[in-house]
């Protein structure tokens, strides 16, 4: 699992229509192996749909997504799930189960070897080991998000898809998330409304508007003011 290197993602002419609504329109994008791309755009711009396509949840109407040159948008390949981890504002956790039970359940689904040790280690990393026996229903929003982070990393994915991951995280957790994200051995795609935070951690930024890719740039020479201007120009 972990010995695989982070893959590059190629998105080619990706189009997704929902009945009359065109969520994505001919999006072309390259995400270099091991890089961190932050994706911005107003509500309904198609950001989450794009992540959904890469995660294998959404079938594109046209176009392809390639992971290290292999198409992943054709017939579903079960093993895709092993390479991709998703952290979203939805935690994918069951309220009635304890933190540990949730982790064990997903550990079984992902076929994790020596799952117990890995689960305990991850829960320590996200600072939730003390609450491992508590039902998720009794946790605060921020605590759930920490567990969700541990859940997303459980199978040590090469690709991390983050959809508004900051929601509910407190300062400690944000620092922790950042540490994990900067330990670059993963290709990361981040969708957020938080321009400052996205710009700060990413190598590249892109703006989607009305299903089209309207702006793309590296963050090295991009000042925050310039980027905010670009966002106003392209997305508002």
């Amino acid at each position: 699992m972990g010995d695989r290197s982070a893959p590059g993602i190629s998105i080619r002419q990706l189009t997704k229509t929902y009945g009359r609504f065109r969520a994505l329109h001919r999006v072309d994008m390259e995400v270099a192996p091991g890089s961190f791309l932050a994706l911005f755009g107003p509500n309904g711009a198609g950001k989450s749909t794009l992540l959904g396509v890469i995660a294998g949840l959404v079938r594109p109407s046209r176009g392809q997504v390639l992971l290290d040159g292999d198409e992943i948008t054709g017939d579903r390949d079960e093993s895709l799930g092993e390479r991709i981890g998703v952290l979203s504002y939805q935690t994918y956790l069951y309220d009635e189960l304890t933190v540990r039970e949730n982790m064990r359940f997903y550990g079984k689904l992902y076929g994790i070897k020596n799952g117990e040790e890995r689960i305990e280690a991850l829960l320590r990393t996200v600072g939730m080991d003390a609450r491992a026996g508590s039902p998720v229903r009794t946790l605060s929003r921020g605590m759930r998000q920490r567990v969700a982070l541990a859940r997303a990393l459980l199978h040590d994915p090469d690709v991390l898809l983050l959809d508004e991951p900051y929601s509910g995280l407190d300062q400690d957790a944000l620092v922790m998330l950042k540490t994990i994200l900067t330990a670059r051995n993963k290709t990361i795609l981040l969708v957020t409304h938080d321009l400052a935070r996205g710009l700060e951690s990413a190598d590249r930024v892109a703006i989607l508007n009305r299903g089209r890719l309207v702006f793309e740039a590296g963050t090295r020479d991009l000042s925050r003011v310039d980027f905010e201007q670009a966002y106003r120009d392209h997305a508002v």
């Binding site: 929902y18 009945g19 009359r20 065109r22 009305r210």
Partner: protein
């Protein structure tokens, strides 16, 4: 004649269907002999049975095109399924209407849970479910997939419904006037010819209507596409 046909946009195929319908009316209402027991009311059988055939045939078409749709994911197969379902539903309604009209004088009651009628009733309900899902699921991304699944399961179900309704009544001997055995037994050759012509003409009519309905759906797609393009260039300029 040709001018009128052109103005009404009647294709040669449509014209054939029209003439066929006239012929069917003549054969079934005038030419075919009067049935001895049931009298003239039996003549509705020529339309009832032909419609029942189309209703069933159309649903099998829904099922087959649904399989192809799930396989190829091409919109045109969804259009075939949708059109067949709508037209099949109309014919199925016709079955449900003509059944009681025929039944009242013959059985002395509008409705009886005879196996054929019960079968048609269940088929009609599956059509209703299909069209309801189509209409109420309009805003769902996966509605076409769901419809295809329903179309496939509905088609697989047809033999089961057939046997279930047959055996269900079989356990309680009732009049079997409308079963196939009942039909064939009392039918003279002329009646069979009239029924045969009716069935062929209804089949042609079905395909004619299919062509029109599918063309309509394609036009809708095209209009939607244009609307989308205009909307994209001039946001807010097209009212919804």
């Amino acid at each position: 004649m040709a001018g009128i046909a052109a103005r009404l946009r009647i294709t040669p195929f449509g014209l054939i269907c029209l003439l066929g319908l006239v012929a069917t009316l003549y054969l079934s209402l005038i030419w075919a002999p009067r049935e001895r027991v049931m009298g003239d009311v039996q003549r509705i059988m020529y339309f009832h049975v032909a419609s029942a055939w189309i209703a069933e045939f159309a649903f099998v078409l829904v099922g087959v095109s649904s399989v192809i749709y799930l396989w190829l994911r091409e919109r045109k197969w969804d259009i075939v399924a949708y059109s067949a379902a709508e037209i099949g539903f109309v014919f199925c309604c016709f079955v449900m209407i003509t059944g009681p009209i025929w039944g009242k004088p013959v059985w002395g009651t509008w409705w009886t849970w005879d196996p054929r009628l019960t079968f048609s009733m269940i088929l009609w309900l599956i059509y209703v479910a299909y069209l309801m899902l189509r209409v109420y699921g309009d805003d769902m991304p996966q509605v076409k997939t769901f419809l295809a699944v329903l179309g496939i399961l509905g088609t697989i179900d047809i033999p089961f419904i057939h046997f279930a309704t047959m055996w269900w009544r079989g356990l309680h001997p009732d009049s079997l006037v409308m079963t196939e055995e009942g039909l064939g037994a009392g039918m003279e050759v002329d009646m069979r010819i009239a029924l045969g012509v009716s069935a062929v003409v209804f089949t042609l009519l079905f395909f004619y209507l299919m062509g029109r309905r599918m063309a309509l759906e394609r036009l809708r797609d095209e209009a939607e596409d244009l609307r989308e393009r205009v909307e994209h260039r001039h946001p807010g300029s097209v009212g919804v």
